[in-house]
Symmetry: C2
Subunit: 500 residues, 2 copies
């Protein structure tokens, strides 16, 4: 144990998870580790689950990096523990409580939480619970498989509970780069000019006096699953063709720009596609590294990856067997830095994120089913989409056995506006919207991206809308009618509705 | 004349405006000076107007900084000359051509145009036409009352026409700071850490071989008008109270943060309000400086102003009588820098922009009347709103003699999403949305911002929507019904509609 707690004065703080969980009181604000399920604080929150399973009533505000594993959002949510939640979650069960209005959810840009916490727009955590590989002699926290908001919580919480996670090797030291933006006024530039640059410390420097408990555990990270999706490879192929075309035009080289992608099957398919492509000496500046990224590092295609989190399937948990091969190639940063507009704009990223739906003018909905029901949250997509060099959104053209078109006349919720979106890509094809006015965009989106079943309906809509005039033509009374039809009949297709 | 053209080899390029205008051919892409009407290229474009008034058919793409004066958008638009227009315009007449689909309008974030031009997302200008105070011995262009995209056009155009504007004093030299972001990869940080920092050159360095004509003129800038608006002072008062409250909480000092505001009466009223306030040692990092800003500089309340343009009324044209008093206090930058997310985020601006309409969840429409008809454009509001420390939107609570509510259930077009908007303020009051979930936001917006005539209607909508569930409750079939009612009856009020 003393190998993992090298600041000897802290050894007296070691206790059980139950003892640490007992320090959490009703009404507290908790800031805990965790991003895309990895590196979540788990031993103490699981002990909290035991308390509420035993009948105790408890309600807290839960702040994380992003989604967390260990079934925590599910179990705590079902027991009514999560009164408030931010800045992201990915739990189908917690979603139910959010959509019923039982959990107040703050769906934030992942780079924004730090500014709110420091600037008085959000309460500071009463207690931080931090997943940690080991504590250095000077009281520095060596993070695990994600950094997320750990440094933010450590600096701003009243008190800190450390979880020493023995499933991670000591060689995690050297993967992290902890840089904190300075106070205002007087804040200086973030000196990152290449994704691999290290500009901070390899651990989170903390005030050891804030530590109230240290819990040692051997609970592993929660691997993710990647659904097999043939359309994902078709979409990836369209994107590859687009990149090749940009190279041919001379505005990109075969090293492209630093790449960013969200989580999921399409993103993984895109990166798998780079393996046998003409592209080389690739880099990433992203918030999450999935399976295919590690293959690219091992094959030498990918030179440097900046991220705030790993998120891999069970098979790829093997990357933790020898992390030294990623030293000097992978940097795990605080999410405020991995997602910082300053660096994203400087590097001119190629950003690829998933749309829940997009409209014919280039607006994208990433969050709300039929305008009202939260899916997961905007996550980092807005941080990247607004500031990237190429802002691409991908989606399959339809869902629900062809009854729901992912391309609609008007999105029912806007997370990314027409001002920000450059490319929309479905398995049908790719629409490059740069340099096009709305009336030109609608034509390209319909011809290239809309599923054939919906093309005529969409053409009719545009014809009727343009007859009414306007820079962005719409029939206001019908703009959301596709969603309304879906809510009423289970299909956006007019033919289905006629049968219903 | 040799005082104004100090590089002697260029004297041979002097010609008349008609001769220069003759170099512009049908189908060309023009990049010209001008931002918030000031510093526009005018002599040569006005000669172009003469050509088309004489019956010539001509069609061009017109790119500027932002809005231009000299009646150019009006006259060129009416003659069908403007086939494409970007990134902003503020002309009621050109608006008609845009909304009729005769002019293709690209409504862009004002900081984005440079990235598109360099990155192949937009064509480079065939000819740049640049408003200039004088040309230095080395061929540097000293700008006039705006910088806008002048450096971008100068660097990227095939050919350059210079307009020497003799209405501006030689002492304009010293007000400008021309900094150009570097090429990617390898681009470094923008080293601005205080609004007054100068990090570039006082002129635009150009390649003199690209200059094909120089036209000397004495045509003055076009002053703006500021409508008298009693509600503007009420709104300014609510904002002042909010700032005072933030000071009291200890998250701001009486020097606040660098301020930004859009154009118009409310913005000017806010800055007029600072004159007799407890706030002092103020700074601005903005895209436009209006009348009240110069009063604050002269009174010593305002220490430093970074902007890309002046935009003053006829009375305040007097500022050009002695600009030396603004040396060291006012910096005019390229709009890519005045609006750059990197610097905006670093400085943590207080950003105040005008909403056309806002909804109960904090989404803002800055551009589209009833979802379809372009008003002016998003301008820089998105650059600031996304990246500022405080993102505030102001609007009067209703318009059209009380028949149109500026706060609606769902905005008909989203320029700024709920993720970005912190504060909504009307003459009724101010809603601080930070830290609130959608169901909490709707209550605060209704109670604080909605006009009394619409409060009960809005409460009924929310009640019906919440009964249907969802993170962001809406009745999708009725979400845009207020707009639909307005289009059909000329009023959003249900009582009016019943009479209609």
């Amino acid at each position: 144990m003393s190998d993992r707690i090298r600041m000897k004065s802290l050894l007296s703080k070691v206790c059980t998870a139950d003892e640490a969980a007992a320090m959490i009181k009703d009404g507290m604000v908790l800031g805990i580790s965790g991003f895309t399920k990895f590196g979540d604080a788990r031993a103490v929150p699981l002990a909290l689950v035991k308390r509420v399973e035993a009948g105790e009533k408890l309600s807290v505000s839960l702040m994380t990096g992003a989604s967390i594993g260990s079934n925590l959002d599910e179990d705590l949510g079902d027991h009514g523990v999560i009164a408030r939640r931010l800045p992201y979650m990915g739990s189908a069960k917690l979603r139910e409580h959010i959509n019923a209005g039982r959990t107040m959810y703050l769906d934030q840009h992942l780079s924004h939480t730090g500014e709110y916490i420091r600037g008085g727009g959000l309460p500071k955590p009463d207690i931080a619970i931090l997943d940690t590989t080991y504590i250095t002699e000077d009281g520095g926290l060596v993070c695990t498989s994600s950094v997320g908001n750990n440094a933010l919580w450590a600096l701003n919480a009243d008190k800190i509970i450390i979880e020493i996670n023995e499933t991670h090797p000591f060689e995690m030291y050297g993967l992290h780069d902890i840089y904190t933006v300075g106070a205002r006024p007087g804040r200086g530039p973030i000196p990152i000019v290449h994704p691999g640059d290290k500009v901070g410390t390899p651990y989170i420097p903390i005030d050891p006096n804030k530590i109230i408990a240290i819990v040692v555990h051997q609970l592993p990270d929660t691997p993710v699953t990647l659904a097999a999706d043939p359309d994902a490879y078709t979409i990836a192929g369209h994107l590859m063709d687009f990149f090749k075309h940009e190279v041919k035009k001379g505005v990109l080289t075969n090293s492209l720009r630093p790449l960013q992608s969200g989580v999921g099957a399409v993103a993984n398919a895109v990166f798998a596609g780079f393996q046998d492509s003409p592209f080389h000496d690739l880099t990433m500046y992203t918030e999450v590294a999935q399976d295919a990224v590690f293959d690219l590092i091992e094959s030498g295609k990918m030179l440097a990856v900046s991220t705030t989190s790993f998120s891999v399937t069970k098979e790829y948990m093997r990357i933790f067997d020898d992390v030294t091969k990623f030293h000097g190639k992978v940097v795990l940063r605080p999410q405020e830095i991995s997602n910082h507009p300053e660096v994203i704009r400087r590097l001119g990223l190629i950003s690829i994120n998933t749309a829940l739906e997009a409209d014919i003018y280039g607006n994208v909905n990433s969050t709300h089913v039929a305008g009202t029901k939260m899916m997961n949250g905007i996550g980092g997509s807005g941080d990247f989409a607004r500031n990237a060099g190429y802002t691409c959104f991908v989606t399959t053209s339809c869902a629900k056995k062809g009854k729901l078109s992912s391309i609609v006349p008007m999105v029912s919720h806007v997370d990314h506006s027409e001002h920000d979106v450059n490319v929309i890509c479905t398995e049908q094809g790719l629409a490059d919207l740069r340099g096009l006015a709305p009336r030109e965009r609608s034509r390209v989106v319909i011809e290239n991206c809309v599923h054939p079943n919906f093309k005529d309906m969409m053409r009719d809509y545009v014809k009727e809308a343009e007859a009414l005039g306007g820079h962005t033509p719409h029939v206001i009374g019908k703009a959301l009618s596709w969603h309304q039809r879906f809510l009423e009949t289970g299909s956006m297709l007019e033919a289905d509705a006629a049968l219903a």
